[in-house]
Subunit: 108 residues, 2 copies
DNA sequence: CAGATAACTCTGAAAAATAGAGTTAAAATT
DNA sequence: AATTTTAACTCTATTTTTCAGAGTTATCTG
């Protein structure tokens, strides 16, 4: 006897968990920045345990997409770059998370 | 005056949202299979709106990792392949989701 | 204006994702 | 037992993304 396929609502992956924030490092950066007004490059590097090249590339993508704003200054004679989430970045983050939640809440 | 960097607990990205289930299509497959005992290839293709090549590759990865079990049969004279989540797949899914949740719950 | 150094950017290599063409396998019919 | 049929792949090449480390840049300080 043939098994029957379940009826399943179509999942819209175009909105659910798609895009820049799919990558764990970029997601983590935005999550951190949602709770802290600004964080330096070196602190992010430490917290995320990423190397310069990789972290710089992820930050660049987020900046190019308008998720992050950057400000440069000096601290104890050394250059420091500060990152913060833009309004648009915050809203993209929230949107992404709500899509993610909708998806994972289905798990039984 | 120099800005101060916030103290931030180190995020363990090795457990948080890492691995096979980072990809939206593979995550969605597992989520669907967590609620439906088994689903056919063609149904997955329809629901996820993926092409044969891409869907096949994702399913293969999940199968190779032991997340999915496969069973082949015929239905109305046509070949059908059924996928279901293994116990190990289910536990990996739950683990991944709990890591994800821990991360996204930090958002303010 | 020279020295110091964090913060990148650049590069090439590696890995992953994608899509479509071609192949395969089993049931039913001949 | 050969033929037909067609879903389900597998294969291949292309594109995209990721990764890591070396080298460059920019600005403060003296």
């Amino acid at each position: 006897m043939p098994r029957t396929d379940p009826d399943i609502d179509k999942i819209d992956l175009s909105s659910a968990a798609r895009g820049l924030l799919e990558h764990r490092v970029r997601l983590a950066i935005c999550v951190l920045l949602s709770r802290h007004q600004s964080i330096s490059f070196s602190r992010l590097k430490l917290v995320l345990a990423e190397n310069d090249g990789s972290l710089g590339a992820h930050l660049r993508k987020l900046e190019d997409a308008g998720f992050l704003a950057i400000e440069k200054s000096f601290r104890e004679r050394r250059p420091v770059t500060w990152y913060q989430l833009t309004d648009s970045g915050r809203s993209e983050l929230k949107n992404h998370i709500s899509n993610l939640k909708r998806l994972i809440e289905q798990v039984e």
